[in-house]
Structure formats: structure tokens, C-alpha cells
């Protein structure tokens, strides 16, 4: 028998007053004990989804279950089994790391003895033991984020929500944060839902991904499956200007082996079965059309390409629209 999903979102719809719909019928399932990534540009609906699943906000229609409990019907039961880290910090700047953990444990109704042991263990796991008695406002960005995650985990939740957990952190702090998280996820049966707009992060840490755009899931699967759906290589030709890119697009589409060409600003992204072999004829075609090529790159499909393929626009251009 298949285990009941740890998270289930069914046709979630949410519209904010006077705005386009944030969620337009979003559905997905997350298996227990896995890391699930919600990937999409800013404004795609990731945070709204997390707010609904963590009982912070209510959908206009649709339903959601976390740990088999309906979030709209029994929010207080859901709150006992989840931990959540929002984009903003969530820890209290004027309290020390230890005081922050103790406060959350008290709010969760933990037994004092259990709480002390758990706090020490979390401070250790997240490398905060030495800083435990300093106020959180003295922490670096990475330390603060690790404290936020430790706070969310103090009551041993079944499901952990991480909304853009590493946004604004330097690469080293991002790596530290992920190291602590993966260690933790491996040790206990914890389901993690993370949202991110870092493609590499989703690729590396999530066992399953859903790509979200305009409030809907446009594709989901394991990162490798998603990449495998795009057979062949990706050739990116930078043309330098939009006019050249437009002419180049038509020229490349004449070639029989070129599967698809997408215009991404001043660049062309083509899908071909074998990039290295086909490159000379592509360049010849562009040369024949009388356009200048600035640079060219051949690569195995990345999540960037997956995103372009399923969302119909490149990840970076979607980010710019949202920004």
C-alpha cells in the first residue's frame, strides 16, 4: 500500500484583492520523508502556496491536507505537526539563540526537560553552540537562518516548510545551511517542502520538483526525469541584439535537425539531438543569413532549459517580469 501523502494540495485557488490570481488551480502531492521543491520565479505563487499549507492564509477554493489533516478544518492540529521558515527571519533579534529556542518550545507546549535537551541538540547540529548566549541580532546572515530553521524544528515536526530558505545568503552560508538540512533530513523521517528560485539548489536537494508559473504547476517529476524529457542538447547562441536574434531564429528553424528554437532576449536557445556535431551547420546557417554571432555555448539540458520548455519563457526573463 502506498503511504498517504505528507502534503496534498487540491485545486488551490487564491486571488488577492485587485490583483491577478496568485493561484489558479494548483495541485500536487508530496510523499512522506522526501524533499520536494517548488520552483518558480518571484510572484509565481510559491509563497502563497506555503502560506495556505501552513494555515497562515485561506484559499478561495480548493483544499489542502498536511499529514492527512485538512488545513482549513483543523488548523490548530496542522500547526502542531509542521515547522515553517518564512522568507523573513522569524527569530527574535533581541533574544539569544537559546532564548529563542526556549520560547518556541514553551509555545509548543514541550516538557521543560525535553526542551532543554532538544535545544542543545539543535544548537549543535546547526553549529550555534558557541553563539547560543548571544542575541540573534549579532548573528551573521547564515547563522540567523540556521537559527530560524532550528526554531522551526524544536518540536520535532513531521513536515518542514522552507520558503526561499537561502535567499540573500552568500554562497558559503547557503552551503552551510544546506549541509545542516540534508544531515537532518537524512537522520529523521522528515518531509521538507522548499521553495526556491535557485535552479541549482532545487536540482541538488529536491528528490521531486514542481515547476510553478502563473499560479499553476506546469511540470513535475524528479529533476533527472524532467531533464530527460528534453532529449538532446541545448545550444545557446548570443546574438547581441534583438533584430539579429529574430533573423537568426528563422535561419535556424530551416535546419531539419533543430528541434525547437526559443527566443530569450537577444539570445537563441535551440534544442538539438547532438550539439557538437550540429554546431558547424548552425553557425553556417546564421552566417548565411547575414547575422553576427557573439558567443555560443553547448550544454546538456539544465533545469533552466526544463523551465523554458515547460513554462514557455526562460527562468531569467520570468524573474525580470516579476521584479
Amino acid at each position: 500500500m502506498k503511504a498517504a501523502p505528507a502534503i496534498e494540495a487540491i485545486e488551490l485557488v487564491k486571488t488577492y484583492k485587485g490583483e491577478v490570481s496568485a493561484l489558479a488551480g494548483l495541485s500536487f502531492e508530496v510523499e512522506p520523508g522526501t524533499v520536494f521543491g517548488l520552483l518558480g520565479p518571484n510572484g509565481a505563487g510559491k509563497s502563497t502556496t506555503v502560506k495556505i499549507l501552513t494555515t497562515l492564509s485561506a484559499p478561495d477554493s480548493g483544499a489542502a491536507m498536511v499529514g492527512g489533516v485538512d488545513v482549513a478544518k483543523h488548523p490548530e492540529r496542522v500547526r502542531r505537526i509542521i515547522g515553517a521558515v518564512a522568507q523573513e527571519s522569524g527569530s527574535i533579534a533581541a533574544l539569544t539563540g537559546r532564548q529563542n529556542l526556549r520560547l518556541q518550545g514553551d509555545l509548543q507546549g514541550m516538557a521543560p526537560k525535553e526542551l532543554t535537551g532538544r535545544s542543545e541538540q539543535l544548537l549543535d547540529t546547526f553549529g550555534l553552540t558557541d553563539a547560543a548566549d548571544r542575541t540573534a541580532k549579532t548573528y551573521s546572515g547564515g547563522m540567523r537562518r540556521r537559527l530560524d530553521i532550528a526554531i522551526a524544528l524544536v518540536h520535532q515536526p513531521e513536515v518542514l516548510f522552507l520558503d526561499e530558505p537561502t535567499t540573500g545568503l552568500d554562497p558559503e552560508a547557503r552551503a552551510d545551511t544546506w549541509r545542516a538540512l540534508t544531515e537532518l533530513a537524512a537522520r529523521q523521517q522528515l518531509t521538507i517542502l522548499l521553495t526556491t528560485h535557485y535552479l541549482e539548489e532545487a536540482d541538488q536537494f529536491a528528490s521531486r520538483l514542481a515547476i510553478i508559473d502563473w499560479g499553476q504547476i506546469v511540470a513535475q517529476g524528479a529533476p533527472d526525469e524532467l531533464k530527460a524529457a528534453l532529449r538532446g542538447d541545448s545550444v545557446v547562441v548570443e546574438m547581441g541584439d534583438r533584430r539579429g536574434a529574430g533573423i537568426g531564429e528563422r535561419a535556424l528553424l530551416q535546419l531539419t535537425d533543430v528541434g525547437s528554437v526559443a527566443l530569450d532576449g537577444t539570445a537563441l536557445r535551440a534544442r538539438v539531438p547532438d550539439g557538437a556535431r550540429l554546431l558547424p551547420s548552425m553557425l553556417a546557417a546564421l552566417d548565411g543569413a547575414g547575422v553576427q554571432v557573439e558567443s555560443v555555448a553547448v550544454s546538456r539540458p539544465s533545469l533552466d532549459d526544463v523551465y523554458l520548455h515547460f513554462a514557455g519563457r526562460s527562468f531569467h526573463s520570468a524573474q525580470e517580469v516579476a521584479a
Partner: protein, 256 residues
């Protein structure tokens, strides 16, 4: 009930830990000005026939205690706004925390602050020559009245912060309320010497209930029944304000 109490205490302790001790002293600058300058300026009003009393400082001190309680309570909602901006509010709301405990803890904290402030102001007034004939029981009732009006006003400020979610609106609303509410009372002038319409409004102004409760409890002959009924009215106002403000969490959650 037990989780509610434990959560309220844990959150109150949080506010006490993060309090800047300097805040209490800074908040005393205003009452000192009222007592020293305003008290000196209107020193002679006691000579107006019908004022009935021989020291304006004695008359003024309960008024300043209540007004100071009101002023600091007006800022209470800032705690929530800081929490909204830092993500702490969201974290609380997705934890199994009673909304009532989130509200109650800020009110308990406000009550404790008010007790300390009020006692300091009473001592200041005493140093400046105010007389408190009924002694400790009278001062206790004055402080209780100040605490209750502070709790009611802090609840209002909290509720407003959940609805408006901005510092500017909260400060504007609080300052716009404190002075009129204080002037539409007998904090600075004897009841029989204010215009009839102000006396009429003052009867229904909770701020005046607190002033009157304190002042009558400090009189030579105390009518404890009168003091008691003012305190009951204040208690009712504080409870109503607290309950209404707790409902404002729903409005906040709808907006995010």
C-alpha cells in the same frame, strides 16, 4: 487553559527580556514636564472659588499618572508591527499559539510597565508637595485605575496595529486620541469648573473614570463604593477592548 497561561507567561517574559530599561526613564520625561511646568503654571487655580482644594499638585498628580499610562499604552501596537516586519508574527501564527495569549502577553507587559511608571510619578508628585491622605490603599487604587485604562488602550492600539499594519497610522491614531481623551476629563480641572458639554462627555470617558477613581481614592474621605464602581467600569472596558482586539487577528490573516 494551561497552555494559554504558559504561552502568555512565555511571551510576557519575552517582552520583559527585550525591554530597554532606558525606555521607562525616557517615558517619564513627559510626566515630569507636566508636573513641574504645568503644575507651576496653574498653581494658583486652586484659588478660583469652587475649586475646593489647597494644592494643585495634589489635584494634578492622579491626572498625570493616568495620562502617562495612556501615552505609553498607545505605543503597545508597535510590538506587533515590529513582529510583522521581522516575520515573528507569521511564525507565531503558524505555531499552535492562542491568539488570546499573544494579545494577553502584551497587555500583561503593559500593565507591569504602568505599575512601575505610576509609582515613580506618585513619588515625584509627593516630592513636589502632593498629599495623599488615604495613603497606600488610595495609591493602590490609583495605580489599578491607571493599569486598567492602560490595558484597554493598549488593546485598542494592538487591534489597530493588526488592521492598519503601519507604524505611521498607529502613531497618528494614538496621539490623536490621547490628548483629547485627557482634556475631555477632569484630569486638569475640577468638574464644576469645566464647561457643561465637557463635563457631559467626561461622564462617559473611560479616561475620566480612571482619573476619578484615583482621585477619589486619594481623598480625605473616601467613598469606596464610588471608587469600586469606576474600577468595575474600567475592568469591563479593558475586557471588551481585549476581546475585540483579539478578533483583529482574523483581519490580519485575511490580508496576508
Amino acid at each position: 487553559m494551561r497552555p494559554f497561561v504558559r504561552q502568555t507567561w512565555a511571551l510576557t517574559r519575552r517582552y520583559l527580556t527585550q525591554m530597554e530599561p532606558a525606555f521607562i526613564f525616557i517615558s517619564l520625561v513627559q510626566p515630569i514636564i507636566w508636573l513641574l511646568l504645568f503644575g507651576a503654571l496653574f498653581k494658583e487655580v486652586v484659588r478660583i472659588p469652587g475649586f475646593g482644594g489647597d494644592s494643585y499638585i495634589t489635584f494634578l498628580t492622579p491626572g498625570v499618572v493616568v495620562m502617562t499610562a495612556l501615552f505609553s499604552a498607545g505605543w503597545s501596537g508597535m510590538n506587533f508591527i515590529d513582529d510583522m516586519d521581522s516575520g515573528v508574527m507569521s511564525r507565531m501564527l503558524v505555531s499552535p499559539v492562542h491568539r488570546g495569549a499573544m494579545m494577553a502577553s502584551t497587555l500583561v507587559y503593559q500593565a507591569l510597565t504602568t505599575v512601575v511608571q505610576s509609582i515613580i510619578i506618585v513619588l515625584l508628585g509627593w516630592a513636589l508637595g502632593a498629599k495623599f491622605p488615604s495613603g497606600v490603599p488610595g495609591v493602590t487604587m490609583l495605580v489599578l485605575g491607571a493599569v486598567l485604562i492602560a490595558v484597554a488602550f493598549a488593546a485598542l492600539s494592538n487591534g489597530l496595529s493588526l488592521v492598519t499594519r503601519t507604524r505611521e497610522t498607529l502613531i497618528a491614531a494614538a496621539t490623536a486620541l490621547v490628548l483629547p481623551l485627557s482634556f475631555l476629563s477632569f484630569a486638569f480641572m475640577q468638574a464644576n469648573l469645566v464647561p457643561g458639554w465637557i463635563a457631559g462627555i467626561a461622564r462617559y470617558n473611560p479616561v475620566n473614570w480612571a482619573v476619578e477613581a484615583g482621585r477619589s481614592a486619594l481623598a480625605v474621605h473616601v467613598y469606596w463604593g464610588t471608587v469600586g464602581s469606576y474600577v468595575l467600569f474600567l475592568l469591563a472596558s479593558a475586557i471588551v477592548a481585549g476581546v475585540l482586539a483579539t478578533r483583529a487577528f482574523r483581519s490580519y490573516q485575511r490580508s496576508i
